[in-house]
Amino acid sequence: MNKAQRRGPAPSVPTDVLAARAAEALEQERFKEAIELFKLLTRQEPRPEWKQSLAAAYHGRARVMAAKKMFKEAAMVLENTIAADGTVRDPRLYLTCLLRDGQQPKAAAYLLRCCGSDGAVPAAERAPLEDLAAALLIAVPQLPDAPRAAPAGSPRWRDMAAASRQALAAWINGASAEEIEQHLNRISLRSAFRPIRLLLGSLIGESGDDERTRQLLETIRPGSPFYPFRQAVEAVVLRDRVLDAAGWERLTPAQQVFVAEVRGLPIAASQFLARSAEAAQGGPGALFGFLMKQSELPREEVRSACLNLLPQIPDRVAQFEKTFGPLPELDRHRIKALAAEARNDWQMAERHWNAVADAIAGGIADGPADRLAMLSQGVIYRHLAHLAHMHPEIGGGGFDDPVIFYLERCTAVDPEHIPSVLQLIERYREDSRDKDWHRLADDAIQRFPDDSQVLLRATESAVARKAYKKAAGFARRLLKINAINPGIRRQMIELQVAHARKQMRSKRPELAAKELSAAAEWERPDAPSPLLRIARGLAGLPIGPRDQAEAWLSEGVGLAGGGAAGWFQARFEAELMKVTGDDAAWLRKELARACEAPPTKEAVMRIVSALGQPEARENKRLVTGLLLSMRAWLEKAAGFDWPEAEFQALAETLTRFEAFELLREFARAGRQRDPANPIWRFHHMVARTRGKADKLSPAEADDLFEMAEMAAEREDFQVTKRIRQFLYGDDKPPSRRGRGPSAPSDAMVEAEMDAAFAAMVDQLPKSATRGLREMVAELGPDAAVAEMVEQMRESPLVPGMPEPMIRRLARAMVEKALEKARPRRGGKVDWDEFF
């Protein structure tokens, strides 16, 4: 609607057009305009539906205003909807606006009218409004007068409100329990004023029993306006609510004032509590200032409280030291580390946490206190490992992955902390540091032989080394602790089947059968293994009895999904075992027969899942051959309505095993079904180029780049990764430590950088080289790199050099120094001379 239209319709506009425009404005929540139009309409003809719509428009406008915190205006707008019985549309909103605007007396008067009238408020809203009315009629300074032409219930409401106010006033004024009870007895327990009867009853000790008092008070629910009152009363009357700091801090300021007055806290104590709370609200600086002025309080406690505030206000350290004396090194660095973390300065945090650990180490000798010191160091290194995991700015020791670096330090000072050991084992594994992984797993199992997590890691390590007997021993111990553990059972079965395959390939089916019979001990009756059944069947075929072998095979095929999916797995296993002759022919025939039945999505996905196993990846040509033998059957599945996630898994399998013809069929069918989705187009390109990005046409490459950009924009990182993987051939994102370039351009930059560094290092002045050698001799290479990074970071001569580059330069220099190292003791490298 344009401006002219909004200014209002000309008087000549027909009513029906005006009504349509008004209805449209209301529907589109243009309330101001709707109000004007409906006002015009009702002036012309006061139709009830237009009056209703006008009220709805006022209501909408009031809601909009209330949302903008214009409570006074919103209440005034709602007053345009006052009905004959004095109520407005949406009483709850009206009251909210009045109360938030500070018009408590007006809200109380309104509520007295509403609550006295039976039909004024919808039944669902009645109970909460009555609760609110009761609290408000007690809280306002003066009870409102009875409304003119008062509804039937109004006088009774007013009487009970008066009784409640009198009871409360009597209690405040120190009246006796009997006098207060007289007033309370006038309050019906079925009325909304019941809470005040319970609260005052508890305060004058009516029940005399804590449990009964608690039960009665618990009937005042958290949503009630009397709930804060209930909490305050509980804090003063229940004997188990000891008035301690925790309980005090749990109270709101209003509750604290009430509790302090009722519990008779001395004014000085009360003032201290109130001012400290007030100062705390003003922030750490205000609280610090307040505490520093408290000369009456125990000095050591004030010092401790101020010390705890310093990480948030590190600029007050000098003021602190002036009053309490110099801080120990440990505290000084701890404050700086926490302050650096608060401003996300991770390098500085790392530096100061290391200084904290060093300060702790400086005090270590022997004895129980030193155990605590070593545990403290462990805490710091663990924290640094965590920070290194979260923030790439954390550098660690220079060469190593910083997480590993700090975890190694942590386990050195606190070797009994199992979670750190487990984390380090995992990290070694992820980092492909197999030697360290297996060494630590072996060491951990020696030290913690009954820990289930350690046993699991030790089993994994043994499996990776193909140390079957060792793995089996660990697994048995683990199953004693956790008898179900399906993961470890599956792993052990797979390991033993792998062993049996070797026996079969060496033409020793008896040994294979024995191996597989032993593997059956890992099976649980409620979770039979298809792989084991198939393998036992295949091993049994040459040695018999044939009936038994075929029965195992059938069971295994059935468990693997039956039909083509099941026989595919049997054939694949047979190929891995190099089953030949009649048995192989029989299996081929069974698979071919199973493929006569039409495919299903489930069967295809079972095959995809089976091909995700490591054996399939290790026998690519074999799988490709098998897939080709089932091509006709698989092609029939191309026309299914594949969900994108399932199709991705399928397409990746077909790509991995170079079944590009099949992939093309699936992608083509996908494009026909859903031409707008670029994912089919991508897989079509992969199929056409047979997975070789260099065979893409320029237009196709552009299309892919655009596809990747769009995927990145909608944060679909899976698709972005797939396209990137296809284009660049890299599986993993580049390491944040810069191991392995991710693209040719990166590699070029790395090479250029290395050349530049080599040139700089060659020009290293003799004095700097000597200082460097001395440092390496004293600190060792890792610490020397870290120290140099620190020194170079502070040097004004390398401004703006990125952290990784500083680190590489430092490393290159240390390596150079090591070439000609001749150990000496010594100090600091003179970088100024070098640069």
């Binding site: 409360l168 004024n173 009630s224 009152f229 302090a260 007055e261 009722v262 008779g264 125990p298 705890n308």
Partner: protein, 105 residues
Amino acid sequence: MRDPFTVLGVSEDAGDAEIRRRYLALVRDFPPDRDPDRFREYRAAYDALSDERKRLETKLLHTNEAALSRLNSAALGAASSGTARPSKQAVAALLNEGIMRTVTD
């Protein structure tokens, strides 16, 4: 999270056994079905202090308000067990707090 030493009401040098005893006593007095929020607070505080390493972590890696709480406790120590009568304003403030909570929640 509030300072766990204060929440459980134990000193900073309390040991495993004392902390556990205190935690169990608090949970007995305030079981989860009666006051779930308070129980969660006790549970979190106990988790933060249940062994030596965790206590060191709390002391070294976090700022805590234990000392301020001790100062508050000292002030609260002067409270009597009797029930005096509060001012009218204190009661009105409590009622108003409840009224405002119901309209703003």
